[in-house]
């Protein structure tokens, strides 16, 4: 899952080498914190959070099979972008 999210983020930003994904396992859900270069924040979020949201939808679809919950947070994004879960 981490590699999957990393791949998606790296593919939409200008500085893929600065992409870092932290995995934070929890009891019910695994949280993924996505770090990108400050200049890439808009690229990872998209207008009205559309890109971050699409990545979140795909991460959930991928986790569905294992019946796990997934939270995806873009570090540095406005709260409303990260709340859409």
């Amino acid at each position: 899952m981490k590699a999957f999210i990393e791949h998606l983020v790296q593919a939409v930003v200008d500085s893929p080498e600065e992409v870092r994904v932290e995995e934070e396992p929890g009891e019910v859900a695994t949280k993924y914190r996505v770090h990108v270069a400050p200049s890439d924040l808009g690229k990872a979020i998209g207008k009205q959070g559309r890109i971050a949201n699409a990545m979140r939808v795909l991460a959930k679809a991928s986790a569905m099979k294992e019946k796990r919950k997934v939270y995806l947070e873009v570090v540095g994004a406005p709260a409303e972008v990260n709340q859409e879960m």
Binding site: M1, A3, F4, H7, L8, A11, V12, K47, Q48, R50, I51, N53, A54, M55, V57, L58, A61, S62, M64, K65
Partner: protein, 167 residues
């Protein structure tokens, strides 16, 4: 016209070797996303023209995970975003799984025709709820040849919507 009827009927697999270089690159992008998703699914090319590359997701997980609009649209949106960044030449990926698009297209065509009938009867504009660009295109194309009405879009994505108006 769109040729979408032909597209729906085409169910043979198109060999990647017969595709253009940019279409092959686009296919590789979708393939990589599928394999990294760890879901049991792979993309199969059903049709392609100068611009559009129609791909069906097949495999054990395709129908369950992507036979619904939200997931399919998210994958299609991200795939095209990546394709636009990485592939030279205009190529657009259209994804389907579990016949979702075909069913959706039939429903949108019916919606377009129903609204058009109402517009003609009342001679008043009819506004359709916001739709993504590829779905608006289906509405536009369905009504393109109707001499009594015209269609146009209003608003900004993702709230852009079609207005059907008397001509």
């Amino acid at each position: 016209m769109s040729g979408s009827e032909e597209r729906q009927q085409a169910s043979a697999e198109i060999a990647p070797e017969s595709l253009s270089e940019s279409a092959r690159s686009a296919l590789a992008i979708v393939e990589e996303i599928c394999s990294l998703s760890r879901l049991q699914m792979r993309p199969v090319v059903r049709d392609s023209d100068a611009t559009y590359l129609n791909i069906e997701l097949v495999g054990e997980d395709a129908g369950v995970a992507f036979g619904r609009g939200v997931n399919l649209d998210a994958l299609q949106y991200l795939s095209n975003l990546i394709v636009m960044r990485q592939v030279h030449g205009e190529v657009r990926v259209v994804l389907d799984a579990g016949n979702y698009r075909a069913n959706r297209e039939a429903a949108l065509r019916k919606l377009a025709l129903d609204c058009a009938a109402q517009v003609k009867e009342r001679q008043e504009e009819c506004e359709i709820d916001p739709l993504p660009p590829h779905e608006r295109r289906i509405i536009h194309n369905t009504l393109l040849d109707d001499p009594e009405i015209r269609t146009y879009s209003e608003g900004e994505e993702p709230n852009r919507r079609i207005i059907i108006a008397p001509r």
